[in-house]
Amino acid sequence: MTQLALVIDLNVCVGCHACVTSCKEWNTSGQAGPMSDFNPYGADPTGTFFNRVQTFEVGEFPNTETVHFPKSCLHCEEPPCVPVCPTGASYKRKEDGIVLVDYDKCIGCKYCSWACPYGAREIDEQQKVMKKCTLCVDRIYDSTLPERDRKPSCVLACPTSARLFGDVHDPESEVSQAIRESGGYPLMPEWGTQPANHYLPRRKTKLRIHEDELVRADNPLKVDGKLPKPAKAEPSLDDVTSW
């Protein structure tokens, strides 16, 4: 059974928001669209987005990490938002595990959003139906698109390729390998929702310089005769031992 998902590599995410607006531009004119914007040119502009990049500071100066954190629907394997939906508008597809909303069935009761611990769902205040990341379901199977383009818009946009896309049930997939090899983890594991999306943690490359690496036979200072030498007048053992 296939479970499509995103794996987001926090190790390389620079927080550029490319995934945020590429998602918006694809989806506002796609099956999920339009995605309305209120006060687009006024006070407190607010609109429907399926994906946001947040920023957190970890630790205290000077040991601070700035973590950019993209967040969208995690397509849980046990999605708490699906069983609570009274109409069946919220559903998880058997064939690929994508959690979707049938906008024609949705009554806009928002109950599914209450049932999501991640805040991944947003009601479209104009159309009054619940919307969320679809993993660009209207792209990824579109045979009119070249193979390369059959990926979620955010994945294609991401300049640091921090967003990997694939089947997390296929152990040989790029995403499964990344999770396995780079310490991929789910969000809020305490709720047993088993998010399909995973995050890869920061990984640090350190360099250790051994003291003896600074001492080298081919030190260029030697060539110019400038390696520090004791002055000839400085006392030496040679001066005082006679046996």
């Binding site: 620079v14 531009e25 339009p34 407190d44 490359t205 350190k206 360099l207 110019d224």
Partner: protein
């Protein structure tokens, strides 16, 4: 669900312009509306990716801030009030051409053309030169000219368009200072690959955001002290012998002997032999080494010789000499890590460790590529070697008044490590490397400005010595911005940030017409914003405007357009032709020259007209020579026609575009015009990429094959090697002039000391000028800005999607600093410098060093500007730091900038005129209780202009459905 996307009818390729990065894009259209913009996977620059701005192009195209009609200020209304009436293009052209014709016939310098972050400086520069005015520049002077000048005067190339870090091969990458938008997507692509390949990324920055966030190590530093850090690292690299001696000997002037006879006019200059010298802007190979084997001076690069880099020697005539490397070593002797710790706030142990990491990585992780090449002295090399330590820096180093020397220090450090144009280090991009300095020169006399004649020389150039300065007999500036004068001799990008103040004051003279293209000089692109806005609207004693006529061309209603007498509506990037030309700032890759074009995907909105067409029309009406035939008739139908057929000189074969030249498109770089050139670009992703043979891709400063190719392709005039200037004779020549030596021009008395101090042939550390002029007990904190990656300067507040991400801004303050000042997270505070103050909100942060406060650049807007509602967050909660930054500093020197504000000099680097944005010092305090919760200062709200679309309060954008 089988999802199809049947409605997209057309996909057109062009080049993005949501920032200056110039990625290839595909624009998907539905019923003539933009449905989707994605990265072009076949484009060498962005390889299919796109950023937040690029993905929001739709909202730029359909923004209500767009100007759609030429506008004339209503009679009787004040500048700045933004009251206009719509006029026709014919009216606009006749107003402008009549005025400009009069100016050109009398005194062409009364016309000034300054442009913002545009990408057509080759054309705007050509127009200005043809007009005959010296008063032309783009935004470089207030952007990163220190980066360009500091590195080009040292290694013959620089970061961004000119070169960059080779992260594909680097093992250690050090990024210093703010560099988020230069380069944007290519840097992100490279950083990610670099990290995934296990590279180590160190970020040195007062603030940890953006790219620094993913650094393996963040080294917080106090703003403006980067020079101290770099000099201390150089100190340590030399003290430990961690430099690449072979590289220094052969490829830099490290071994060249410097004349140290203090009485000589040649003091501080390299000793030269009596080799016949060809005139030119290159460095002739006539200097001397002190050979270690024979213990005698020899001509550099003599086969079989190896010079001393350290030591002191005496020539047979008794002249004391030292290799320049010896002078460098002496210079950094006292710049110890312990000394730097006190200035930078970085522990000495960390500085040493950084130096060792750099030195040991460079030395022990050498790359050898099996690429044979021949150097300029004829020596054949079987391999190209690289020392995999790469650096990147941009505005964070540049935007300080001590930035030039800081950047020289960086370039020298990169050279000591042997990383220039080598794998894993710094790599050039065509047309660089160029001679040090490049050949282009401005005129050096006011006589070059003549009525009804083109300017006799370039408006911007690369001075190599005092005689190249653009000054009059008395040493006074010829240009309105005082560029290339003794005040800022190497101001190679001009000083746009002083144009309005100078013109207003009439110092050096008054001008008549100021034409501004897409620069927001009444807001975020100017310092001292409140006063500059007054100057724009100020009248003289006769009631005439001090700047009599202001024309502004822009696609959007900005704060600046409100001050225009005439507004010309530009198109968006999706509606026009453009060229990213080899004559300008192309998008070359490490492996060879690349240029690209924009091809319109949509018709112009309303009456919008591309600025290029405006220039060609004006040029034709004014009968500027290149735009008309001999008989004075129109030569070019339009801009595309101009691009196809223009040659720099008749028959030169050099034009704006390098690709598909020659009658059938069979030539590149040089060749006769090809009538189908645009089509060929269109059929090839709008980009021309010439990959050089591998043997020409490295060591290009000294690569015989490459240099000869470059010369044959007319990229460079000479094929001489471009030795790295560890020691800068160019600077020494200015210093000698200040010391009264030699036969060159001499600086005016009051600038002698300034020139002597700053034109030091070796880098040194001095506090920024503003800090020297500040009571730092009163104003203890450095205030800087950072670039949000989802916004480009002030451009995107009119963008419905991007503005939701950055609707207003806070001042970030280190938590400890804030608590000491009694400021809670989210409090309203005053930020005050000696020049002005702003009220804003504070946000505690642990990702900023305690002596620094910062905010996002250009989020704050004037009320009503960019066609936002007057109560929009940008104006009520957002703020501009520019209000606390002055464009001028009080000058301790007599005779400068005499005027109503006393003795003033530009708040700029004294060498390059780089605007010192990041030097300001401030203090912060909580506002008094009950103080209004609105940012200060506030300005009267602008009203929408005629022809602007109404602002929606709800937008359900769905391409193809015209909602």
């Amino acid at each position: 669900m089988s999802a199809v996307n049947p409605s997209v009818q057309e996909v057109k390729k062009t080049t993005c312009y949501m920032c200056a990065c110039r990625c290839g894009i595909r624009v998907h259209l539905v019923d003539g509306q933009v449905r989707y913009i994605d990265g072009n996977p076949d484009h060498p620059l962005n390889q299919g990716v796109i950023c937040a701005k690029g993905s929001s192009g739709i909202m730029k195209q359909y923004s209500p801030a767009r100007l759609t009609k030429p506008l004339l200020r209503k009679p009787g209304s004040e500048r700045g009030a933004g009251e206009f009436e719509a006029i026709s293009w014919e009216q606009a052209f006749s107003i402008l051409s009549e005025r400009l014709a009069k100016i050109r016939a009398t005194d062409p310098k009364q016309f000034a053309l300054f442009t913002g972050r545009d990408q057509m400086q080759a054309l705007t520069g050509l127009f200005a030169r043809q007009f005959g005015t010296p008063n032309y520049a783009a935004h470089g002077g207030f952007c990163s000219v220190n980066m360009a000048a500091g590195m080009i005067y040292t290694i013959g190339g620089s970061f961004w368009e000119f070169g960059g870090p080779d992260l594909d091969r680097a093992k250690l990458f050090v990024m210093i200072g703010t560099a988020e938008d230069h380069h944007s997507n290519p840097m992100k692509i490279a950083l990610s690959k670099f990290k995934r390949n296990g590279g180590r990324f160190v970020s040195i920055n007062p603030v940890r955001t953006g790219y620094s966030a993913i650094a393996d190590e963040w080294v917080p530093i106090r703003p403006g002290t980067d020079g101290a850090l770099l000099l201390a690292i150089i100190h340590e690299i030399i003290a430990q012998g961690l430099y690449d001696r072979d590289f220094l000997v052969r490829y830099t002037n490290a071994g060249q002997l410097v004349n140290l006879d203090a009485k000589s006019d040649e003091f501080g200059m390299f000793l030269r032999t009596e080799v016949p010298e060809e005139e030119g802007c290159f460095d002739p190979q006539n200097k001397l080494w002190w050979d270690r084997a024979s213990n005698k001076p020899v001509i550099t690069h003599t086969e079989g010789c190896d010079p001393f880099l350290l030591g002191e020697f005496k020539l047979s005539d008794g002249t004391p000499v030292k290799p320049s490397f010896q002078l460098l070593q002496e210079r950094v002797q006292d710049y110890t890590p312990e000394w730097a710790e006190g200035l930078t706030g970085i522990p000495a142990a960390t500085i040493k460790r950084l130096a060792y990491e750099m030195g040991v990585t460079a030395r022990d992780q050498k790359i050898e590529l099996p690429i044979a090449w021949t150097d300029s002295w004829g020596k054949e090399h079987d391999t190209v070697t690289g020392n995999p330590v790469a650096f990147h820096a941009m505005r964070g180093l540049a935007a300080h008044s001590n930035g030039f020397h800081t950047i020289r220090a960086l370039a020298i450090l990169m050279s000591l490590l042997g990383t220039i144009d080598r794998p894993g280090g710094f790599r050039h991009k065509a047309p660089f490397p160029r001679p040090i300095p490049p050949c282009a020169k401005t005129p050096n006399t006011p006589l070059a400005v003549k009525p009804n004649s083109p300017l006799d020389g370039m408006a911007l150039g690369w001075p190599a010595e005092p005689d190249d300065l653009f000054v009059d007999e008395a040493g006074k500036p010829v240009r309105i911005d005082k560029a290339f004068s003794w005040e800022y001799p190497l101001s190679v990008h001009g000083l746009m940030h002083n144009v309005i103040t100078n013109a207003w004051r009439g110092d050096p003279y008054r001008i008549d017409t100021l034409l501004i293209f897409m620069a927001n000089m009444a807001w975020n692109s100017t310092m001292n914003t409140v006063e500059v806005r007054k100057m724009l609207n100020d009248r003289d004693e006769n009631g005439e405007y001090r700047i009599p006529f202001i024309a502004v061309c822009d696609a959007f209603q900005s704060e600046m357009t409100a001050f225009a007498d005439l507004v010309l509506p530009d198109t968006t990037y999706l509606e026009r032709h453009d060229v990213m030309s080899m004559l300008d700032r192309p998008i070359s890759e490490f492996d060879g020259p690349v240029d690209s074009v924009r091809i319109p995907v949509l018709p112009p909105t309303g009456e919008c007209k591309p600025f290029q067409e405006v220039l060609i029309e004006l040029g034709t009406r004014l009968k500027l020579p290149v735009f008309v035939n001999k008989d004075g008739t129109r030569k070019y139908r339009d801009y595309p026609d101009f691009i196809t057929n223009y040659e720099t000189e008749p028959g030169s074969g050099i034009g704006f575009l390098a690709g598909w030249r020659g009658k059938g498109g069979e030539k590149f770089m040089r060749g006769e015009p090809n009538p189908r050139q645009w089509e060929m670009y269109a059929a090839n992703n709008c980009v021309y990429h010439h990959a050089l043979p591998r043997s020409y891709q490295y060591m290009r400063n000294w690569n015989k094959g490459y240099l000869e190719w470059s010369q044959r392709s007319r990229i460079t005039r000479y094929a001489e090697p471009i030795l790295i200037h560890l020691y800068s004779e160019v600077l020494q020549k200015f210093r000698l002039a200040a010391q009264g030596k030699g036969i060159t021009r001499k600086p005016p008395e009051h600038l002698k000391q300034r020139i002597e101090t700053w034109f030091d042939p070796l880098p040194f550390y001095a506090e920024p000028l503003e800090v020297q002029a500040t009571d730092t007990h009163k104003y203890p904190l450095a205030a800087v800005t950072q670039r949000p990656m989802a916004m480009y300067h002030s451009w995107d507040s009119q963008n419905a999607w991007l503005r939701q991400i950055h609707t207003h801004n806070y001042l970030f303050v280190n938590g400890r600093t804030a608590r000491l000042a009694g400021i809670d997270d989210g409090d309203w505070i005053w930020v005050e410098s000696q020049w002005g103050k702003v009220r804003c909100m504070a946000r505690h942060s642990e990702a900023v060093e305690p002596g620094t406060v910062w905010t996002w650049n250009a989020i704050g807007k004037a009320a009503g500007a960019w066609n936002l509602t007057p109560d929009a967050n940008e104006s009520k909660l957002g703020f501009l730091l520019n209000h606390v930054i002055s464009e001028e500093l009080p000058s301790p020197l007599a005779g400068e900038g005499q005027g109503e504000r006393g003795n003033r000099i530009s708040n700029s680097d004294p060498i390059t005129g780089q605007a010192a944005w990041y030097d300001v010092r401030v203090r912060i305090s909580k506002v008094s209780p009950g103080d209004t919760a609105v940012t200060s200062p506030q300005f009267e709200a602008l009203k929408p202009y005629p022809g602007q679309e109404e602002r929606r309060s709800l937008w359900n954008f769905f391409a193809g459905r015209r909602t």
